[in-house]
Symmetry: C2
Subunit: 228 residues, 2 copies
């Protein structure tokens, strides 16, 4: 499996294009509406057959390009079955597998940032959206977020992957582009080093963060696959 | 060899940390002075032994952190023998090899953006600085840049690497993080698809770009390894 990481500077969002080198079957994970032109041209230039436009969750900080990508490439849009979208072609379930040629993407339900987070695993790597970030994690104070649930998703699901699994997050605000399961197990200050659930929940539940400035536009926009 | 790509948003610069997993011996390529604290903490947290701080060239757009890194970690600073720096511990020559445990970094002299550009090759990847960028290349109108020389460096040296070699550039201004030799041979609009040297030189020699806004600070700063 080949992978390309793309960056949207305005929202600090990472978008990923993964593809099978032989068949050129491809998926895009967490596209950004404002980068549709860039990403469509890139996919065409690389000669890829875009089969899936997958979302890790219903984002509150940017609007997706999944609807436009479906119009352009005829791909299937996949969002968690818990995401509440009517526009998705695939209501993604835990353990669901997406085939790209001989390669597989496996969905892992990792709720807690929202109630409908999905991490996508491919050989040696996992795309964690806003569930597990680099030395951090997604906030848990809106969209049915739940700190206790997020602790279980990360410690009982993501942290059971092999230590050398590369972690590709949905964002990073310090200029880091990847981590690994082993690194986060050891170094994540919120729940690494076997920090107890109660301590994690206390950290998350007392953050008192400002409301995301785009949430009232982004969430409704993402519930219709960005076709706004 | 493990690799971490880091991003400085202010100057759109990519910094790379490469290391051997067994011995934890590491090198940093193209560090940024303003990110010294971030990068020093990162290197320590990962338990790396920083042996080398390497530069792809004497930069005109940011000041390096090599001097500070040497002070902190006792690493050797490497800059091209043509770079004109007196502060470097190693005047890097074409073909020079740097060992990180059992792994090797090989220097390839790829002048043309400046007269002292070095690309660094590790297994399956090459760090091209500003010689070869994604669908672009470095400008050739200052610091002894030469479009004809850059054409030869890219087509006769970099383009002879295996097509699946991953290209990690010194910058990208559109949110791309990597390319490959095969992609650039096919898709680089300036000199891909076997574009003749004269056409490339015409493109580069008629760009009429503004003077880089930091050049008068950055170049003198980099000639003293950023200790300004």
């Amino acid at each position: 499996m080949k992978m390309k990481q793309l960056f949207d500077q305005d929202t600090w969002t990472y978008t990923y294009v993964v593809y099978d080198e032989k068949t050129r079957d491809a998926a895009i994970i967490d596209s950004v509406k404002e980068q549709f032109d860039r990403d469509a041209a890139y996919i065409k230039a690389l000669g890829l057959n875009l089969k899936y436009a997958l979302e890790t969750h219903v984002h509150a900080d940017h609007i997706t390009a999944t609807g436009q990508l479906r119009n352009e490439f005829g791909c299937k849009v996949g969002v968690s079955e818990h995401g509440g979208t009517n526009c998705a072609d695939i209501q993604v379930t835990d353990g669901q597998v997406f085939k790209l040629g001989e390669q597989e993407i496996k969905a892992i339900h990792t709720p807690g940032h929202t109630n409908g987070d999905v991490s996508y695993q491919i050989e040696g790597a996992v795309f964690t959206g806003d569930a597990l970030l680099i030395r951090a994690c997604g906030r848990t104070d809106f969209q049915q977020g739940d700190s206790g649930v997020l602790y279980e998703s990360i410690t009982q699901k993501l942290f059971t992957l092999p230590d050398d699994t590369v972690v590709y997050p949905g964002h990073d605000y310090d200029g880091f582009t990847s981590s690994s399961i082993g690194e986060e197990k050891a170094l994540n200050p919120r729940l690494g080093n076997n920090k107890p659930k109660e301590e994690f929940m206390h950290i998350m539940d007392t953050m008192d963060l400002p409301k995301p400035r785009r949430i009232d536009v982004a969430v409704p926009g993402n519930l219709v696959c960005g076709l706004v």
